[in-house]
């Protein structure tokens, strides 16, 4: 018995394959681009390859994310918040509060011990604090997200960068560059701004131990370090944070196949 979870995000599409005992068998990630169906197909192929199985071996597929209704090979779908809640409990069983920072949205979620959503709050209209915002800063600095991962927040002297509006934040970054400020210190400020925004959302749903940071932005250790500093609290995060939504989708697919 194999279950597949697929998370079509605005920036990246992630796919996870699990066996009937909820053991991870394979995963794949691709850029979403304009064609969500094609991205889903490519992510699935990558996951199948890693798991060493074929598509017809899959018992059930559950999709989530922006394009969740457009995937022809999925039988079920759930909203991404529900998937992140479930996936977080799988990765860190003591999780009670989740911060998911994805390509376009930041969501704080309060969960129970089984991964059910008790409450959630999402960022308002502005994308400041999301992956898209970090990409625009990376473009401005002629850097990549990979470069960002190498920045150690604790080694920077963070400059103040507004977190209220991504356009204003970009202007501030340009001003700092013109003023000859260190790129690392500017990035320290950017990370801190994102962390402040995340902390504000987390406080809105109520902070409860343990806190888990998921989504593509959680891969940047500088942001998770800044989040820990702002919250004065340990935060679970790891390099597989981007897969948490897909993991949750696969787990929910397993649940549903058991009920069939």
């Amino acid at each position: 018995m194999l279950a597949c979870g697929i998370d079509i995000g605005s920036a990246q599409t992630k796919c996870v394959i699990m066996d009937g005992n909820a053991i991870l068998q394979g995963r794949g990630i691709v850029h979403t681009g304009a064609n969500q169906q094609r991205a889903a197909r490519h992510a699935l192929k990558a996951a199948l390859r890693e798991a060493g199985v074929e598509e017809y071996d899959l018992s059930i597929t559950l999709s989530t994310g922006y394009g969740r209704h457009s995937i022809p090979f999925s039988q079920k779908s759930e909203t991404v918040t529900i998937c992140h809640a479930r996936g977080s409990i799988y990765r860190y069983p003591e999780t009670r509060t989740v911060l998911d920072a994805g390509g376009q949205e930041m969501t704080a979620i309060r969960v129970d011990a089984e991964g059910n959503v008790l409450d959630f709050a999402m960022n308002d209209k502005c994308t400041a604090g999301t992956g898209r915002f970090l990409e625009s800063i990376a473009d401005l600095l002629n850097m990549s997200m990979k470069d960002f991962r190498g920045i150690k927040y604790h080694e920077t002297d963070p400059l103040f960068v507004s977190n209220a509006c991504s356009v204003f934040a970009e202007q501030e970054v340009i001003n700092y560059l013109e003023g000859g400020k260190e790129v690392e210190d500017i990035l320290g400020g950017v990370f801190e701004g994102i962390a402040e925004r995340g902390a504000s959302l987390l406080r809105r749903v109520g902070l409860e131990d343990e806190i888990t940071f998921t989504g593509g932005v959680s891969h940047i250790s500088g942001v998770s370090s800044a989040l820990e500093l702002v919250l004065e609290h340990k935060v679970n995060s790891g390099i597989d944070g981007v897969y948490v939504g897909a993991l949750g989708a696969a787990l929910l697919a397993l649940d549903q196949s058991k009920h069939r």
Binding site: I82, R110, N116, V117, D119, F120, K125, R204, V205, G206
Partner: protein, 421 residues
């Protein structure tokens, strides 16, 4: 009679009353009557009706601009007059319509200029500048009824006296502008009709407690509240609510639900996103969600717990003004919503925050936090606007709504499994 026919009658009657209201504002047979501009929160139209004023409600103009899909254009005119982006979009929409190029000519009617502007400052501080701008533009007198925020559950004696005194001071002003003598007997008669309409209105709100609720207190309630807003103190309002009660009884007998099958019961807090109202409504309908109670439809008349009646007309007017929903203190609102949630046995609360209106949206995040964390009632917080469609992001709102209901649905299924086990 089929349930669908019942629904059509109430809706149609409300629409006809709105059309008649706008027609009469500009009708030649009423042209000798003076025009007063008045605001809805804590508005006491009955008082002005006795002076034969034609009553214009600038907020209602803004609502109809949004429903007629011209609010963006009117807001642009309003902004061209110098009003900033963050300014109340009702104000910009109304000033765009009245002062901008349309000069009061709207698709829903021609709005006459004011002979008197009365700012019933009740819950909304922007009313003052809005009314002043209108009075300045049309060069007419402006009067303020300053209604203090309720510091306690009900108006204190001094608050009551303060409001009542101001209404009494308006008598000579109204007599002079309208050319009509104040008639206390007529006021009493008009207020008796108000009281009658209020008692029917309160009866209507109780239907939300039924399962399934025969009406939606938000998505239908805003249609049903129109006669209460614009026809206060008239037999038209009384007849309308009699008809509505009759239809509710028929719906009840037919086990009718406005969403087909009632799956989720909600309390709605906050004003509706008027320009995108239908799209917003569909997002809830598809989940079988019904607003069995809402706070917005109590804005024109919170009605419960009034101290005075029509036998003491000036006291009754002061009470109606001061006890308007937006004039309540935060704690009173929270207690009230919590009681609604309990009495109407709801599954959750939806708070719609208005970008351009801080006075009515302030405290909603605290409200959300209290209900979601301390009271344990799932609460959905949404953010858009009352008149500016640029603040309504369909995909963001749909995602939040779907997440909310999927989580509720899962929780319900899990509870059923536990019970079964």
């Amino acid at each position: 009679m089929k349930a669908a026919q019942i629904e059509d009658r109430a809706r149609m009657m409300s629409r006809l009353l709105v059309e008649r209201y706008y027609r009469e504002l500009d009708a030649p047979e009423f042209s000798d009557r003076k025009v007063v501009y008045l605001f809805t929160s804590g508005g006491i139209g009955e008082f002005f009706r006795t002076f034969n004023f034609r009553i214009v409600l600038p907020e209602i103009n803004a609502v109809h601009c949004a429903r007629a899909k011209i609010s963006r254009e009117m807001i642009r005119y309003g902004e061209a007059l110098g009003h900033i982006n963050e300014m109340c979009t009702y104000v910009k929409s109304d000033l765009g319509l009245m002062v901008g190029p349309p000069k009061g000519n709207a698709p829903f009617g021609k709005i006459p200029p004011p002979d008197l502007v009365v700012i019933n400052h009740c819950g909304c501080s922007t009313y003052i500048k809005w009314g002043e701008a209108l009075a300045r533009e049309f060069n007419c007198p402006v009067q303020i009824i300053d209604v203090p925020f309720l510091s306690e559950d009900r108006p204190t004696e001094s608050e009551h006296k303060y409001v009542k005194g101001q209404i009494e001071e308006l008598i000579p002003v109204c007599e002079e502008v309208s050319g009509t003598r104040f008639d206390p007997d007529r006021l009493q008669d008009v207020l008796k009709l108000t009281e009658e309409a209020i008692s029917l209105w309160l009866k209507l709100l109780q239907y939300g407690k039924k399962r399934p609720s025969p009406f939606d207190s938000y998505f239908e309630g805003v249609v049903y509240m129109a006669p209460m807003t614009i026809w206060r103190g008239t037999s038209e309002a009384v007849e309308y609510y009699e008809l509505l009660i009759e239809q509710m009884e028929q719906r009840l007998a037919a086990s009718y639900s406005p969403v087909g099958e009632e799956r989720f019961r909600l309390v709605f807090e906050g004003s509706p996103p008027w320009p995108t109202f239908t799209r917003f409504k569909t997002m809830f309908e598809r989940w079988g969600a019904v607003a069995v109670a809402s706070t917005y439809i109590r804005v024109v008349c919170a009605c419960e717990g009034l101290t005075w009646g029509p036998d003491n007309p000036m006291d009754y007017l002061a009470d109606l003004a001061a006890q308007s929903f937006y004039n309540w203190n935060h704690l009173k609102k929270i207690n009230f919503i919590e009681n609604l949630a309990k009495d109407y046995e709801v599954d959750g609360i939806v708070a719609h925050s208005v970008r351009s209106c801080r006075p009515i949206s302030i405290g909603q995040l605290d409200l959300r936090k209290y209900f979601a964390t301390e009271a344990g009632i799932p609460t959905l917080f949404l953010d858009s606007d009352i008149a500016d469609p640029r603040f309504f992001s369909s995909s963001q709102i749909r995602k939040r709504v779907n997440t909310f209901f999927e989580a509720l649905d899962k929780r319900r299924k899990r509870a059923a499994e536990v019970k079964k086990a």
